[in-house]
Amino acid sequence: MYKISTDHLTELFSSISHDRALYMPIEKNGQVQFDRWMEDKKVRLDALNTVKSPKDLFFPQSENIVAFKIKGKNISIIENRDESEPFVVFGVRACDAASFDILDMVFLQDPVDTYYKARRDNGIVVTLACSEPEETCFCSVFGIDATNPSGDIATWIVDDMLYWESLTEKGERFTETIKDLFESADFLDEEALKSHKEDVEKIIEKLPLHDLSLDGFNSEAMDEKFNSPKWEELSEACIGCGTCTFICPTCQCYDIRDYDTGQGIQRFRCWDSCMYSDFTRMAHGNPRTSQVERFRQRFMHKLIYFPTNNDGVYSCVGCGRCVAKCPVSMNIVKVIKAMGVDENV
């Protein structure tokens, strides 16, 4: 366990970023996003979480896959994927760090997605425990401990001291390279950190959504939940935009499209949303014609299908982004409460 005073952070950042890219929550035009750190950028480590999740650094919103050049009947294939170079992402919250493990279950499963794997190997995740959770947070429901985030390196900010502890071997190796900036934390610091963690845990117990129960959602309940009449009423306000899926850190769906640049065809991959009508539209029809079915698919996937295929792990980390940002305030919490066997509904 190392420590560094928070007013030396700029030094730490500049030494990290001289040989590799460093991303962290930075405010740009009034909006906090994960952006590349520069000397003059406005760092916002106090912001609870960004709207666009750090998933974008490993599974970018759009990336080139392959390009083709067509001459008459012949096609030549050009591999022009966006090369990924080593980078560090700092200030990731516990929920987002947990979302990386969920995405790993999808993309690193055979057959491995090499684009995602290259970025995952090149990236070092430095998480920052949160100290002031919002009322929309419910990561504890999914067994995520906000005070002990996962990731390669975990950090905590207590008063004006940043505590730095590497959790994985990759984190260990990286800490070695910048060891001289830190001092090692003594017993007193450990105590201060422990009491800080307890305070935050007390707050988490008091969060309004901490008692959300998931025991209605398991693979046996697939048919019962699928045919429930409540989907009609839950989805009547949904306007079918893609906000909940594009800001969700665990959404994995993507689309593959071709773009004719005039000199050749660029095949690229981009995020897709099951809420859009063309998600499953085929030449001879669409199995999900109305918004009710699409709405149902999203929450069935997160709460039943994904746990069925991944031995019980839910595809939600309780970050609360969809709770805060849905244009009509319909979200997974309301679905869990309406569909589950939660007693206070």
Partner: protein, 152 residues
């Protein structure tokens, strides 16, 4: 399709001209038959009427490499479809103002009324427009980089 551009040292502007079939296209024809010259890098696209030009066309032209877009139509009042150019006039005014609002150089887009008999006006307008675009330089703001630097 992307529009090929001559990439020599002094910048050669590429201009897309939407010419309405009844007046300005005939005007361009007249300019040709009466041996009046206008820059070769003006690519004419024939449209039934100036109000057929959709804002998407203009933005597509810029995306694919055009540096200037000019819409030519009949003089207000003698449009073949009687009211086409009136609507086009309003639509283009609002579009140009919107592009200017977004910071695109104002000179890059223009509307000219050229009748079928004004071959001379057509060639002078095209020469003059090509000069202004030449001064403005290459279109960097409304450019789709994927179309430009596609590697071989």
């Amino acid at each position: 399709m992307s529009i090929e551009k001559t990439e020599d040292s002094n910048f050669e502007p590429l201009i897309v001209a939407f010419c309405c079939n009844w007046c300005s296209y005939a005007g361009a024809d007249l300019a040709g038959t009466s041996r009046l010259s206008y820059p070769a890098n003006v690519k004419i696209i024939r449209v039934p009427c100036s109000c057929r030009v959709n804002p998407m066309f203009i933005l597509r032209a810029f995306q694919r490499g055009a540096d200037g877009v000019i819409i030519c139509g009949c003089h207000p009042g003698d449009c073949h479809y009687s009211t086409g150019n009136y609507y086009a006039r309003r639509r283009m005014t609002l579009l140009f103002s919107m592009l200017d609002y977004l910071g695109i150089e104002r000179g890059r887009t223009r509307v000219e009324w050229v009748s079928a008999a004004e071959g001379v006006k057509f060639s002078t307008v095209m020469n003059e427009f090509s000069k202004t675009i030449h001064e403005l330089g290459e279109n960097k703001k409304l450019r789709d980089l994927r179309c430009k630097e596609f590697l071989d």
